[in-house]
């Protein structure tokens, strides 16, 4: 019964979404506040009904109602509760419901919280948001009904893929969707602005917090996913340039560019047309990611159960959004008035460079991801594009970006003084030089490690110099500097945090790529091996029961300099529903480096007594790897600090008196 109610709620949500498309659009045209406010009610109604549908689906998963096909195919009665819940979005149908739930959440938030928005802009934003919602609700209802019943109901479900039964992955999709779908707001704002034919500082100020929130969620989602890949897949790596990883990375790159170009629109009224285009493209890239993952046109470890009909439907939605969005852009963008002029060497110029490099980086990832498909379409045969391509194209683009990142924030708006800025960066340059020399002397890995460390230190020092300049550190009493720090706009502090975090991430990536030690060997009970100064002794391998698996758990004693310091328990888990083996890496982190152990297969002695009995064990020493995720989390914190900036809370200053909002809402 609850299941049917959920299905019905989803249909009602579609009806509300349809109302949300038409009514506020007509209202904005006629400047009719009653119609426009009806749009707000529709957006909130759409959210409420999708939430009801989502909760009823979650209920079906929690009580293990196997008469529902999605539950039977993806859940199991013996699964821990957390994974029964995360199983809701661990499959195609349920994850689409989460997708529209988050879409409606953002739409509802604009309707409920966007009191400082001009009513016509808000109405149009909600209308566009309604179009996206209606499209995806139709997709769910027509091709991927999560409430489909099977008769007779199976006695038990077939279970969730065990490698997905993991706390990191339980929350990876929701954050990712918050990011992907959150960019829909930037898209809707861009379309609404094109309809209104007006882009100004106030527009940029409204778009930025929504984009920032989506960007924070996406950053966290990607970081969670890569962290999961690192400790669960047991390959010792964290990023594989898989098409689906790329699908999430492209909107991140475009979204990062958008965050920066929106600042130029807000502060200087320039780059309007480009920012609108970026806002549209960022969401289109998110949609394209959805299409690539769910249609099966590319092979990937992430591919969902594929169905050409679904692929065609999403392609249709993507096409409508693209033709609508980019078509409107093509017609309307030339009419946008360009704002302030600026010299090439200026803050604007630096941000343009940032956008060019991020845009090009995004394009190289797009090309690498789609090249096999395009070549195949042209009859050029089948190829695969691997890590070397991305190392050769993506990494070189990051070098100038990181150099410029150290300088850009210090440049003045409109016309910057490069020699002056460089002289203020003297201290930063000296520290960077010392770090560079130290790396050259100490480096026992490849040469690129020197470049990576130098760039990261330069970036961090540049960011800190900018902050020090702002608070006039060392140029007066410390208390004066501290009080200046307390009065800095939050956005300025946020920038320092985020840029420093980027440096930390670069250090982490460099460290893991350059200085990783890997050791694969067969160990018998009592064997000792040495990795990066640690002595690891295999004490025993025991069979340990888990809630829905049995594990072989190795006990590895770790000693450094003769003193025991830790014990690692890598596991190999054998699940029964569905039958699958997963590895659980054991990681000991010092925050400076990870000692990472994976238990492999049991090795029997070969016939004739050669070889020894033991277990395959892989041990990695990964210097600086934790910094990748620490950096990502700090970056998100930077985003959150920026969200609390005063200007987002008080809204934009307006010259005309603010029109009174009708009390009906």
């Amino acid at each position: 019964m609850i299941v049917e109610a959920g299905h019905f709620a989803l249909i009602l949500a579609f009806v509300f979404a349809s109302i949300q498309i038409m009514v506020p659009l007509i209202g904005a045209r006629r400047n009719d506040s009653v119609l426009m406010d009806a749009g707000r009610m529709a957006a909130i109604g759409q959210f409420a009904f999708i939430l009801a549908a989502f909760l009823s689906l979650m209920h079906a998963f929690i009580v293990s109602d196997f008469s529902v096909s999605a539950v039977a195919a993806n859940s199991h009665s013996a699964k821990p509760l957390l994974y029964k819940i995360s199983g809701v979005w661990g499959n195609h149908e349920g994850s689409m419901v989460l997708w529209v739930l988050i879409l409606a959440l953002f739409g509802g938030a604009v309707a409920g919280l966007g009191n400082n928005l001009p009513p016509t802009l808000r109405a149009r934003v909600l209308s566009v948001q309604g179009m996206i919602g209606a499209g995806f609700l139709a997709f769910i209802l027509l091709t991927s009904n999560p409430f489909f019943r099977v008769h007779p109901a199976p006695a038990d479900g077939s279970g969730l893929n065990p490698i997905l039964q993991d706390p990191g992955l339980a929350f990876h999709p929701p954050f990712l969707y918050l990011g992907y779908v959150g960019f829909s707001i930037a898209f809707s704002f861009a379309i609404a602005a094109l309809i209104e034919g007006r882009v100004d500082a106030a527009w940029a100020r409204w778009v930025r917090p929504w984009t920032l929130a989506a960007w924070c969620a996406l950053t966290l989602g990607i970081a969670l996913g890569s962290w999961w890949a690192y400790y669960e897949l047991g390959w010792g790596g964290f990023w594989f340039w898989d098409p689906v990883e790329n699908a999430s990375f492209m909107p991140w790159l475009a979204g990062t560019a958008l965050l920066h170009s929106a600042i130029v629109v807000e502060k200087r009224g320039a780059l309007k047309s480009w920012t609108i285009l970026l806002a549209i493209l960022t969401f289109l890239l998110s949609l394209m990611g959805t299409f690539l993952v769910r249609s099966g046109v590319l092979t990937s470890v992430h591919a969902f159960a594929n169905d050409p009909e679904r692929g065609l439907f999403i392609l249709g939605l993507l096409l409508i959004a693209t033709v609508g969005g980019l078509g409107l852009y093509a017609i309307r963008a030339p009419a946008l008035k360009t704002g302030g002029l600026f010299a090439p060497i200026s803050r604007e110029g630096a941000l343009v460079l940032n956008n060019l490099l991020l845009g090009t980086a995004c394009a190289t990832v797009l090309i690498g991801t789609l090249y096999p498909l395009v070549l195949d379409a042209l009859g050029g045969g089948k190829v695969s594009v691997g890590v070397p391509y991305f190392t050769l194209t993506f990494v070189p683009l990051m070098v100038p970006l990181l150099i410029a990142l150290g300088i850009g924030p210090l440049l003045a708006w409109k016309r910057g003084d490069l020699p002056g800025v460089l002289s203020r960066l003297r201290a930063a340059a000296i520290v960077t030089g010392i770090a560079c020399l130290a790396t050259i002397l100490l480096n026992d890995g490849p040469a690129f490690a020197v470049l990576g460390v130098t760039l990261a230190v330069w970036l961090i020092m540049g960011a800190l110099t900018e902050l020090a300049e702002r608070v006039r550190l060392f140029r007066g009493p410390l208390s004066a500097s501290l009080s200046r720090l307390a009065h800095l706009p939050r956005a300025a502090i946020a920038m320092t945090i985020a840029h420093t975090a980027m440096g930390i991430v670069v250090l982490g990536i460099t460290g893991s790529a350059a200085w990783q030690t890997e050791r694969i060997l067969i160990m018998s009970q009592g064997d000792t091996t040495e990795v990066a100064g640690y002595a690891l002794t295999l004490e025993k391998v025991a069979r340990v029961p888990g809630p829905n698996y049995t594990a072989e758990r190795a006990t590895l004693r770790v000693a450094a300099g003769g003193r025991p310091i830790a014990t690692l328990y890598p596991e190999k888990r054998r699940f029964t529903n569905p039958p699958q083996v997963t590895t659980e890496a054991a990681i000991r982190t010092t925050l400076l480096a990870d000692l990472y152990a994976v238990l492999g297969d049991r090795q029997e002695p070969a016939a004739g007594g050669q070889g020894k009995m033991g277990w395959a064990v892989r041990i990695y020493h990964n210097p600086l790897v934790p910094w990748i995720w620490i950096g990502a989390v700090i970056m998100v914190l930077g985003g959150l600090v920026s969200l609390t900036d005063r200007r987002h809370r008080v809204g934009a200053p307006s010259r005309a008196p603010v029109p009174r909002r009708p009390r009906t809402a």
Binding site: S295, L315, A330, V374, D376, E604, Q610
Partner: protein, 176 residues
């Protein structure tokens, strides 16, 4: 000028849409990858044997239907397809050679001792050099080679029931 430029994103998107549409329609299966080696003579092969016997070379293919299977003890899908290779070995209609790819000889020996050895001879390719000659980009891969030394069929990934049927049919054809 500006007018034209603003249509550019739409144009690029239109091209991508055509590609996506093509990718969805038709018989295209992204996991099926044809080998440029089909119907071509087998590439160079000269590897030390795992058991220290005569080297594994192309000359071994002459005159009989042969199967070259790329495997490694660290590769889980190899274990999945292993019973099929054992079945083919039992048929005795084709000689089966192994290419032990990027593996340690001791590991490979232990693996074969544990699961059974379907191979008449095994070449050791520790660095994966022969794998490059043969265009191997994943383990397992299986090549069917005719008595004339030409590659006739290739399976990427583990052999399945369908592949087994196809292999048996082609082995019978080639043996005529």
């Amino acid at each position: 000028m500006i007018r034209v430029v603003t249509y550019l994103p739409l144009a690029v998107a239109a091209i991508l849409a055509v590609v996506f549409f093509w990718a969805l329609s038709g018989e295209r299966d992204p996991s099926r990858i044809p080998s440029p080696f089909i119907d071509k003579p087998a590439p160079v092969l000269d590897l030390a044997a795992l058991d220290g016997g005569p080297r594994l070379t192309r000359a071994g293919f002459a005159g009989r239907v042969s199967i070259l299977n790329v495997f490694a003890s660290w590769c889980l899908p190899c274990l999945v397809e292993h019973p099929y290779l054992m079945a083919l070995a039992k048929d005795g209609k084709a000689q089966i050679f192994g290419l032990n790819y990027k593996d340690k000889p001791d590991d490979a020996k232990a693996w074969l001792a544990k699961h059974g050895n379907p191979y008449a001879r095994i070449g050791v390719d520790r660095q994966g050099r022969a794998g490059i000659e043969w265009g191997v980009y994943g383990v397992p891969e299986t090549f069917l080679i005719g008595p004339d030394g030409r590659i006739r069929y290739k399976v990427v990934g583990p052999i399945t029931n369908d592949h087994l049927k196809e292999l048996r049919r082609m082995i019978a054809d080639l043996a005529k």
